[in-house]
Symmetry: C2
């Protein structure tokens, strides 16, 4: 089969030009309809995970229609959380006090520490109602290409806890991703070296 | 066929009791893990349309992990929108000025008014790039059962505009719901009465 040849300056370019014009037209109309403040709110909302432009516009119109105090309650809640919530001094989980709810709970088994990447992982594990030990939140996973080195994670604090607090077992529950697995392997090496040094 | 009879105090109650216990256990654990400020943020986010508890928790953890200025930008954007955005004096569409972008646009056809329920409907219609006339945003639909009477919508202002501005055509584009259709029928009657009185 022989494909028909197109002159060099034809092909898809007229179609593309049409699409470019259409995009410019959409931008012009949107500017007419939405105000700068609404545009900014939509832009801020689309920075949230899983929120596209359409969802952000829907949320923005809901916020516009809501009473001012109800709408501003979201902003106050965000400011409140950023001001009051901090990492637990012991395990790195989220808390408003020095120590988090798991660390101060006398019913938890203090001989086991479960190592996770983020505070959200603590929530996931707590939902199972199976684990009764303590946690250690690393704050991420090792990823040299992204510039995350061992010194950027709460690893020294983990080794201190394992050495000092009568811990008998460490569960490595990093994510099943390449960086998560690499982090677990690195931690296993460090912990084995420490056990060998202690014994 | 004869269905087997169950003793009165059996049936599904043991199972139900189990579920109730489980619900209480979940509540206890959640309180331990999330701080009051995070709980409040999750509660505020679940008030948004289409955002359930899980999504709200995911958003809350993203906000917690984000830099403070990026997180607070959402709150500032909400406050900004509530402070600056108001209804267009002419049509009820959203604007930061006296008149909205459609009403001040000299290229729009001022002989046609399209009547819609909410500002979001203006956005939907503008996305089609077909309509070149003006709008009139009612601010809802008639619904006597919910206490929405003609006086609660921007109906008098619509009749004034139709009477004064050389309007030749009114397009009734309320929603295809029971209240939307009832509103369109009511407006058609009012507009016909006005045309008959003028003629």
């Amino acid at each position: 089969m022989v494909h028909p040849r197109l002159p060099v300056d034809m092909g898809r370019s007229p179609h593309r030009a049409g699409r470019r014009l259409r995009a410019r037209r959409i931008a012009r109309y949107s500017r007419l309809v939405l105000s700068p403040a609404v545009d900014n709110l939509v832009a801020q909302l689309t920075r949230l995970p899983g929120i596209g432009t359409r969802t952000a516009q829907r949320l923005a119109f809901h916020i516009l229609a809501a009473p001012a105090d109800e709408a501003n309650a979201i902003g106050h809640a965000i400011a409140d959380v950023k001001a009051r919530v901090r990492p637990c001094r012991e395990c790195g989980n989220l808390t408003e006090e020095e120590l988090c709810g798991v660390c101060i709970d006398p019913r938890r088994d203090r001989t086991v520490i479960c190592v996770v990447e983020q505070p959200v992982d603590v929530l996931s594990l707590e939902r199972t109602h199976e684990y009764r030990g303590l946690y250690h939140v690393l704050g991420g996973a090792l990823s040299p290409l992204d510039g995350v080195e061992p010194g950027d994670l709460r690893i020294e604090r983990l080794l201190d806890r394992v050495g000092a607090d009568g811990v008998e077992e460490v569960v490595l529950a990093t994510n099943p991703t390449m960086t998560g697995e690499a982090t677990a392997a690195y931690l296993a090496d460090r912990l084995r070296a420490r056990v060998a040094a202690d014994g």
